[in-house]
Symmetry: C5
Subunit: 111 residues, 5 copies
């Protein structure tokens, strides 16, 4: 899975019946320091995530089908968790302190 | 899923029976600002998309099988939705206004 | 799917029984202008393609199994169509004319 | 599979029931010389790995389901082994000696 | 599939039962000229390949399961063939001669 942030949503017509009632979110994958990395992806929302939420993205058809009741569906990406906290550890196993600016970002609540 | 724009179509002989009657579109994946990103892909059309349409691409065998009645088929990419609108939000949750040029592109109807 | 050109073939011993009688082609993926892009891939031939043919590549286990009678097989890539013609359209929907050199390449028959 | 090092963990709410009781680790993929390569990934822990462990990452829905009792689950990445030793060989087939600094790293126990 | 060369092996504890008795090889993917391209991958050995062998890599869960008797297993990559010969052809369909140095490499037996 990958960490991303919800940045928008998408409206589509002529879409598949299994998508009815589902929101398609636009999600920006994030690097370890919380900065944008790569292109945004379109993901079916399985957890009622909101704009700005830091989320877990899953990239696999079968795994993503869990968000539409396991029905075969034209889905390859889904938002499957809302991240509360990312804990980074130093090489000694101790939590990385507040002085480590980029990592510190991850220790704030995402919402 | 990924956002793309239909830029052409492909004629192939000696193709698989499950492809009969299906159009194979050439689709250019797009970045957040609507510019081309990466190489075009060949995708089975599941929604009768036309040239110039902004569409949703799915990259997964099983997920793409939905466009040919769930039969096992030599397909790994499909056009599964026509995008009407991509709504981007600022970090405060407010819609991004018309002044934001690159994002503005996404707020126009795709067709 | 992706567009490629057949550039060679591969002989392998100690291979899987489901590969018997099948040719493994070496295929160079192509960009929109017909130039090589990325590394060549090894693909099971499902359509009796020949060297120099412009072909459709599929990258998915289940989808590729169609080339060996749907048996589970150690295959993740297959040649599943021989391309006759790639038609590119301008933004106005009109076919791109012969003056557009790189796209023109795609309007020639591949074989 | 890919080699990575566990660098943290992730807490998420509103996650899928099949994830209950499972730890989601943050894992940094490593290159041959043991240096970080690419973005960290979020992976379900199937082997009770700890921070600093050098591990094997698997990237496939079905393969990753083995970590949650084969139930369909929104998982596409899992930690499926803890690496004790990576043995590199020279082109002559002889083990690469201690003088080869970058490879040497791999000959130390990971934990 | 992709062409690679076996460069080492990996010992792991706390691994999945379906891996018992199987060797996990470290394989360096190769470009068309035989040079290393991208990061090494860890692959279950399905053909008793040895160090230095030029091999075929398959990247797909189901396809890789063939190496462990089709059991669901935490595997996404497998060595599924030992390459004897890669034959490259020129655009005219004639075999590429010995004068073409980089391609020539491919015409030598891999083992």
């Amino acid at each position: 899975m990958q960490i991303g942030r919800v940045i928008g949503d998408i409206s589509a017509t002529q879409k598949h019946p299994s998508h009815e009632g589902k929101t398609i979110l636009l999600v920006q994958p994030l690097g370890l320091d919380g900065s944008a990395t790569g292109n945004p992806v379109a993901a079916v929302d399985g957890v009622k995530a909101g704009v700005g939420d830091k989320v877990l993205l899953v990239y696999d058809g079968f795994a993503a089908f869990t968000t539409v009741g396991l029905k075969p569906s034209p889905i390859d990406t889904a938002v499957i968790g809302i991240i509360d906290r990312v804990e980074l550890f130093s090489e000694t196993g101790a939590p990385v302190g507040a002085a480590a600016a980029p990592q510190q970002k991850h220790k704030q609540k995402a919402r």
